[in-house]
Amino acid sequence: MTEMLEAFRLVAAPDVPIAILASAIYGLVVGSLPGLSATMATALLVPVTFYLSPIAAVATIITASAMAIFSGDIPGCLLRIPGTPASAAYTNEAYAMTRKGQAELALGAGLWFSAIGGIVGTLSLVLMAPLLAEMALSFSTFEYFWLAFLGLMCATLVARSSPIKAIAAMLLGLLIACIGMENPAGTPRFTFGIPDLLGGVEIIPALVGAFAVSEVIRAMVTPEPPPIPRRKFGSILAGQWQLTKKYQLPMWRGNLIGIIIGVLPGAGADMAAWVSYAMAKKFSKEQEKFGTGHPEGLVEAGASNNASLASGWVPALLFGIPGDTITAIAIGVLYMKGLNPGPTLFTERADSMYALYIIFILANIIMIPLGIGMIRVATLVLRAPRSAVMPVILLLCAVGSFATGNNLFAVILVALFGCLGFVMERNGYPVAAMVLGIVMGAMVEQNFITSLIKSDGDVMPFIERPVSGVLAAMTFGALLWPAGVWVWRRFGGGRLPAAETPR
């Protein structure tokens, strides 16, 4: 108990609330700019943390990353340009809601369920950290392979297009992920002698190009759409309460999936959002509404990506193993500030740990008022003429992607992916599936190859180990299920109930 009081005292130190507030606003702004991801927001904070007290330093990272993951939804919803890779999964859905005049509801859902996800994720960190850490440590490359494979299969679910085109787009993403020498063999592949390609195609330029620039191109060739009907929208939170009651199950499922994926090193918020959105669609009673501006997927995925953010700290704090790119940076800061990760952190520095928990909760609570303000300001963009918004977006694309590595090559990549994204979109190939392929490509290959090396080429460990066996069964089940349904419908006399089940 004395530790708890001490923790409150630590958080109440004058510099901590200031650090939280400042980094909250910073995170909201950076996350909402296309091209600047939550990881980037965190990395840019590191030099600042040099000058802060340990608790304030960690508070800036926690707060800024949580805010940035939420505010990545904003440009996705308003302009169909995801601010961070974690928002890419449900960008089309949120944008469809905006077209229906429900921008506030969509963004409010992102905000409300992000905050809930963040708080539930924190509780999992507080209550089950040792348990979750054991789970993370039981995952070897065999399990990761199946996990990544399951993640890839979400490609066909998130898009409203022919599954074959979705798979083709996903394979294209995997092929792009092959570029460079960051593969298990360390061999340069498809680099065409360009040194900039040795490190591979980074996800941010690809994301910015495929979504943002292609959207700008689309604006060039289509007439200005009719203005979005301006509906009087009351309190943002009131609408969210109804959604919470209506979609309780998806919300909790999102939280759970987020926590699990967040704990597993290497997966992170991006994958959590994809998997949750796909799950929401798969198990929804109103599948056909997905993609037309239906909030159910936003509820689940919004909760999921923020839950994963908090639980990603579990392996980081206990074993110094980063759950995602954000905690990878955070670990460096923890060491710098003498908060060395390890079980002793929970016993000997319990006051600091409690202080971290309090900061997590605080950050997710102040996210709501600040986020509402941000939404009110951001929706003004919808009233600005397209000829004023699009030029600024294009400029932001150039500067934002340049900023990822201060390398102009990224801007060239953005231009190329812009053209590619535009052509794909026009011809019914879901761009989101390609992005998923790029995100997951390295993980699939890395774990497949290293597993084979470890087992001397034997495939049995892929299904022998208990957890990998379960994951393998899930993968094959998910693969064979649609085929089975198709065969049944085709030859079984079509006695299946119609797609719409009466409720």
């Binding site: 600047l36 599954p163 394979l171 092929l175 063999a185 620039v213 900023a403 102009l408 535009f422 011809n427």
Partner: protein, 156 residues
């Protein structure tokens, strides 16, 4: 840029074939039974299969016809050229940013884009002046991104 499924499918077949062939020629790595060649080959073959299926029109029934607004009244060829303006401006940024500096380059990009989208000069010119300055402030001062000064160094 609306192409038939036959064309995009064929493109995928070619791309997959090239990827698989180029992948198969990658050297093996000592100590790895499955070398760097395996994955590109697998993906290439997958792309070929998908391409063939798409070209044959299988799976099209799942597609939801998009309520696409009819392409602009102008001739289609002109529309195609307009599509190239944004990527061309990005390449302009790459080539000119270091020589001209960030502010002039950015102003040109914003001005051209705004005019191309039909903005009046009354909107486009102030936008081209204000937007680069604000973005420069945010990225250079707040995020410490080394934007080139070039011909027009900023006073901050």
């Amino acid at each position: 840029m609306q192409l038939s499924d036959r064309v995009t499918g064929a493109v995928l077949v070619v791309l997959g074939g090239v990827a698989a062939y180029a992948g198969s020629r990658l050297p093996a790595v000592p100590g790895q039974d499955v070398g760097p060649a395996a994955f590109p080959m697998l993906i290439g073959i997958g792309l070929v299969i998908c391409g063939v299926l798409i070209a044959l029109g299988i799976g099209r029934s799942f597609e939801v016809a998009e309520a696409e607004a009819p392409a602009g009244q102008g001739s289609r060829r002109l529309a195609g050229l307009r599509a190239l303006i944004p990527p061309a401006l990005l390449l302009f940024y790459v080539l000119a940013a270091d020589r001209l500096g960030f502010l002039p380059t950015a102003a040109v990009i914003v001005l051209v884009m705004a005019l191309a989208l039909g903005a009046r000069l009354r909107l486009a010119v102030p936008l081209a002046v204000v937007a680069p300055v604000l973005i420069h402030l945010a990225f250079y001062k707040l995020l410490r991104v080394p934007l080139p000064a070039g011909l027009l160094p900023v006073p901050w």
